[in-house]
């Protein structure tokens, strides 16, 4: 290591350089996300796709089966209620956090689906949440075509 550059009074070392990175994106929904969110927004319906071969019902919907790579070309409507499979009560602030802390994130197996649906739980005390409980979607009045068109799921 070499000798430090001569310091002058008042300066202090330049031990970091600050900066910001900003890149914007504009990405297409494509057919599947497009239809999924239109159904959420317009009809309060949660739609999955079904694999033509193994029969798995997939969320998010995509044009192929994530498991067996065959086309998934059949749309199926799923119930807006299901079984709570796992949850976590989050106390730390997160970027893009969905609610004030603590909030409850959950994976829900909607009736008729083959994979979990990620969302929030509401109207329930964290201490009363149990894996296996039945939950139902509470839809937002003002829907824009995002996952937030469902405010949260609450216990039935």
């Amino acid at each position: 290591m070499i000798e430090k550059a001569k310091e002058s009074p008042g300066g202090g070392p330049v031990d970091e350089v600050d900066g910001e990175l900003h890149i914007s994106y504009r990405q297409p929904y494509g057919e599947h996300y497009g239809r999924f969110y239109r159904e959420m927004c317009d009809n309060k319906r949660i739609m999955g796709v079904k694999c033509s071969k193994c029969g798995a019902v997939l969320l998010p919907p995509r044009p192929y089966c994530g498991f067996c790579y065959e086309p998934a070309d059949q749309w199926v409507e799923l119930a807006d209620e299901g079984t709570l499979k796992t949850f976590t009560t989050v106390y730390e602030p997160c970027v893009g956090e969905p609610a004030v802390q603590p909030y409850i994130c959950a994976f829900i197996m909607l009736d008729g689906a083959g994979v979990h649906f990620p969302h929030l739980l509401g109207e329930v005390d964290p201490d009363d949440v149990e894996v296996g409980m039945r939950v139902k979607a509470i839809w937002a009045e003002d829907r824009k075509g995002t996952l937030r068109d469902i405010k949260y799921f609450r216990p039935i």
Binding site: P60, T86, Y91, E97, C105, H116
Partner: protein, 387 residues
Amino acid sequence: MARAAAVVGTGQTRYANRRDDVNIPELAREAASRAIEDAGIDPRDIEAVVIGSGPEVFEGVNRPDLWVGSALGQAGRPVTRIQTGGTSGAGATIAAFYHVASGLHDVVLAVSYEKLSDGIPSYSFSTLSDPFWDRGFSSGAAPLVGLQSCQYLARHAPKVREDHGAMVAVKNRKNAMRNPYAQLQMEITVDDVMNSSPVASPIKALDCCPLSDGAAALVIAEERRAKKMASRPAWFAGLGACSESPYAPNIDMAYPESCVRAAQLAYQMAWIYDPVRELDVAEIFEAFSFQELIWTEALGLCNPGEGGRMVESGVTAMEGEFPINPSGGVLSANPIGASGMIRQIEAAMQVMGKAGAHQLPGVRKSLAHSWGGVVQFSTVTIFAGEL
């Protein structure tokens, strides 16, 4: 068939919440220089370099390999970068192995690093999720692993309990006291963990890994050179890697297929039938304490639901029959893109007899594991002291 290859030298940096004394390439260079020195070779003996580091958004530099590669004293050499999130470091080692196993190169350097403090990790994590799907829901590593841990506990209750996670934290933090590189070295109790502040249930503050700046590197050589360079090289005996669904809600996180499959592939290659008997030690990527239990099961080191018993009975303690994470694991330092390689280095050092104060006696075979992404990437590496 593939040429034999072995780890002949390893290097790690000091891990710290912020390494403000070095910039990103210097951090990687620090580890690389130590690995080259440990291998006792001239830097010009290196024929190719593989770099592993996590998402570009962590440090805010696109194609960082082009910058970092320049610091390694390898001008003109091939440099390849692997980026698979938490498995980046382990993935870089595996790629370096194929450089040698293919016959294309004889001596290869693998370097991994992360300088998380240069950026804002919580923000960076949020960008891992699909903006069309769950970005903004469960953003962050702790909530993701909270969901994973809850799923696991719910499946195996009452055999596995919340305090089993705490026992892992106690064990690994204690092990770290013997590891000079560890960032967190602390003697804590199960009560300390259980009473620490909640983060994302069932995860509490002391169940979490720290955020780290750090780098790791290793040198891999083909058989003839390896035997010259090291008195006891760590031979690659088994390798497994597997990827699965892009979406966490599509994965059985309590028993992930990618981990099960990666382990099967590695055991097959290493001719291992009964891993817990045939292996002597494992270094597992437990970013959060409950994960050590989950991975122990998915790696086939015990039956599903037996993870709690493994730690409670002391089997996985430093003095136990099957020590896990004698280095202190990821709970003691987590420079993400390097952590998978650090597990490999620790496992290799055990086989080479170079683990210092946390060396276990008579290690013949060791296992290193890593996971990445939203639990859809897994790697397993098995080292052996003899070919």
